[in-house]
């Protein structure tokens, strides 16, 4: 951790304030000139700030939408239509929020993949990584509940299917589902509590983001070479170098974001959500938002019970196994710092891991596609294969790779990228 520098503003009033609440020092030391940062961060390091900015966009647009939205099953759909039709700039703010969720997930997924590629989760950054996963889980809960609020067909049936997952839990499952619903099906009480929690959780996320940045300050940023900072020559001040680089990234990202908002606001949505919720008619196929598809595919890929073959004895029924697989797929990421036994962080010096990483990315894309298809023909098979690879990647390949992979020699330092003689 770099030394903490104290700022003493020349302006008297400012100095008086700073002595009592050193907010300038905080900025200076966390994202300012007083934050030595590895000089070799590439553009993949932009996505952290982009994710943070998307959280701000979502909170601001969300608060505004909440001023006009009505969480009542009879009025919710109409109130959303009123926002886009009659509220000043509602036609802009609503697609901003809906597409903003997608772009938040795009930024976060790239941020996570960057961490996987460059080994950002390894010591001493395990807690930083786990806080990130907590943010990810909270985001998924928030996005899921937010999607229910417009009370379209996909809102209603998505909520029904996902809350029903909990019914797979033995003994108490049905009671938990009734508790979640506040009734005997997804209905007005469900909508009300989802609205309340959808409003609350983003602020919880904001709190965890602050912890995440704090942990980053303590352990310092990683870097593409995955080697520790050796001297001042390896570092540059965060401001102005990474502030302007982040600003450039925001420019590019927002241009793409704006293209979606203004010219294809429905591209990432589902047409069925323009049909008001009807508890008597199920849509042809219930598809979650694209960012949930890989996990939805894992959930659906398990279609077999675990028991004693040849008998009727079942230990874990398929439904429960699917739910376990889905939750496990995310929870096992908490153990990743210990599952990956390699001493080398960056995939640049890990030729085999590099290949496996891209296989993993391809599998995630495959699972995303499978999640959006009806479970017929080849798709369930591909889903099962993808799921199998997902778990094998983390539970078998990574632990073994640390022992058997022949890594490339590491550079001496960031500022002097001369390769150390092969050891």
């Amino acid at each position: 951790m770099a030394e903490w520098e104290t700022i003493a503003p020349k302006n008297k009033a400012l100095g008086w304030f700073e002595e009592r609440l050193p907010i300038l020092s905080l900025v200076h030391n966390v994202v300012g000139p007083g934050t030595p940062t590895p000089r070799n961060l590439n553009y993949w390091w932009n996505f952290g700030s982009l994710a943070g900015l998307m959280l701000v966009v979502q909170i601001i647009s969300g608060i505004v939408l909440a001023m006009h939205y009505t969480p009542d099953t009879a009025l919710a759909f109409d109130s959303v239509e009123r926002i886009t039709r009659d509220v000043n700039y509602g036609w802009l703010i609503r697609p901003m929020h809906a597409n903003g969720a997608s772009f938040f997930f795009i930024a976060v997924y790239i941020h996570i993949l960057r961490g996987l590629y460059y080994g950002s989760y390894k010591a001493p950054r395990e807690v930083l990584w786990m806080l990130g996963l907590v943010i990810f889980l909270l985001m998924m809960a928030t996005a899921f509940m937010g999607y229910v609020l417009p009370w379209g067909q996909m809102s209603f049936w998505g909520a029904t299917v996902i809350t029903n997952l909990f019914s797979a839990i033995p003994v108490v499952g049905d009671s938990i589902v009734t508790l979640l619903w506040g009734g005997f099906s997804v209905d007005n009480p469900t909508l009300n509590r989802f609205f309340s929690l959808h409003f609350l959780l983003p602020f919880v996320i904001l709190g965890v983001v602050i912890l995440h940045i704090w942990a980053k300050k303590v352990s310092d940023s990683g870097n593409p070479l995955g080697i520790e900072v050796k001297s001042g020559a390896d570092q540059i001040p965060f401001h102005p170098f990474y502030t302007i680089k982040d600003a450039f990234g925001v420019g590019v990202f927002f241009t793409i974001f704006a293209t979606f908002i203004f010219f294809m606001p429905d591209a990432m949505g589902h047409p069925d959500n323009f049909i008001p919720a009807d508890s008597l008619v199920t849509p042809d196929s219930i598809v979650p938002e694209w960012y949930f598809l890989p996990f939805y595919a894992i959930l659906r890929s398990i279609t077999f019970d675990i028991g004693i073959p040849g008998t009727d004895i079942v230990f874990i029924p398929a439904k429960l196994l699917g739910v376990i697989a889905m939750f496990a797929s995310i929870l096992l990421l908490f153990a990743l710092p210990w599952l990956d036994t390699s001493k080398v962080r960056s995939a640049r010096f890990r030729p085999v891991y590099k290949i496996l990483f891209w296989v993993f990315v391809a599998v995630m894309v495959l699972l995303t596609i499978v999640g959006g298809k009806k479970p017929e023909g080849i798709w369930p098979v591909l889903g099962l294969l993808g799921t199998a690879y997902y778990f094998a990647h983390f539970l078998i390949f990574l632990p073994l790779l640390g022992k058997y992979e022949k890594t490339l020699p590491l550079p001496e330092s960031i500022s002097n990228p001369v390769i150390k003689a092969a050891e």
Partner: protein, 265 residues
């Protein structure tokens, strides 16, 4: 640049996945039509909107409601206040209860919703052989490739059902409809609506095009505003990003030259 390539691949796959065709369960995919609102600079065609409103009013509105459309919205079609009042006055809506508490009716006003043809869904089903004519307010967005789908559906009658497909006596075969059997009779025929002088001839295809144009306006009334502002916003963001880029290059020059910021060289 490697980064750009990766980003491009990522975006293309995301868009590809999002746009992946959903199984429609119909015999035929919708036919592609040209719409003036297509493309980033697309705008609705006012003359077509007005003709489409005429078709909706004279044909569709006898069965299909339009609950998010208010008479005042006709201003977007180019009608003035007096014309809008005149349109509204042709319809009756429920008024305040009178002094005796009995229900009353009054002429519609610009702020009123276009009245539904049926009192409720059950009444609608009862008058339509058990089938519910859906509300059309959002139909162009509630179906995949909505505008082309609706145009194809309206003009897609007249072909014979494939061998072995039973079509009930009071239903029609329509290859664009899910399952192929539709309760709606062919809605448009030659002379169903008479267009004003100077307008194109009211062929079924022309009427279908106009009414879909009108319904896509009702589904997405702010498309014009969105496209106009969007163009400006994108231009601004591009300029800003370019300036950021050159500013970044300047600032980073000393880093690229290998300057050490923390120790004397």
């Amino acid at each position: 640049m490697k980064f750009t390539k990766h980003l491009a691949i990522a975006l293309v796959s995301v868009v590809g996945i999002a746009g992946a065709a959903m199984a429609s369960g119909a015999d035929k995919h919708p036919e592609k039509q040209k719409w003036s609102s297509d493309g980033p600079l697309g705008q609705y065609d006012q003359a077509s909107l007005q003709r489409g409103w005429q078709v909706y009013k004279q044909v569709c509105s006898s069965c299909h409601a339009l609950k998010y459309f208010r008479f005042r919205n006709l201003a977007d079609l180019g009608y003035n206040v007096d014309e809008i009042k005149a349109f509204a006055q042709e319809y009756e809506v429920a008024g305040e209860p009178d002094d005796a508490g009995d229900e009353t009716v009054r002429a519609a006003l610009p702020q009123d919703v276009f009245p539904s043809p049926f009192a409720n869904d059950n009444a609608a089903r009862a008058s339509n052989g058990g089938a519910l004519p859906p509300d059309l307010s959002l139909m162009t967005r509630a179906r995949h490739d909505g505008k082309n789908y609706m145009y194809s559906l309206i003009t897609g009658y007249g072909t014979k059902a494939p061998e072995g497909r039973e079509i009930a006596a009071d239903k029609s075969y329509n290859p664009y409809f899910k399952g192929g059997q539709i309760s709606m009779a062919p809605p448009l025929f030659e002379g169903a609506v008479e267009y004003d002088a100077g307008q194109p001839e009211a062929t079924p295809e022309q009427m279908a095009h106009d009414v879909v144009e009108f319904l896509s306006y009702v589904g997405d009334p702010t498309l014009g505003q969105r496209h106009e502002l969007g163009f400006k916003v994108i231009a601004f963001l591009l300029l800003m990003t370019i300036i950021f880029f050159f500013s970044m290059k300047k600032i980073w020059r000393s880093v690229k030259a290998g300057k050490n910021f923390y120790e004397e060289e």
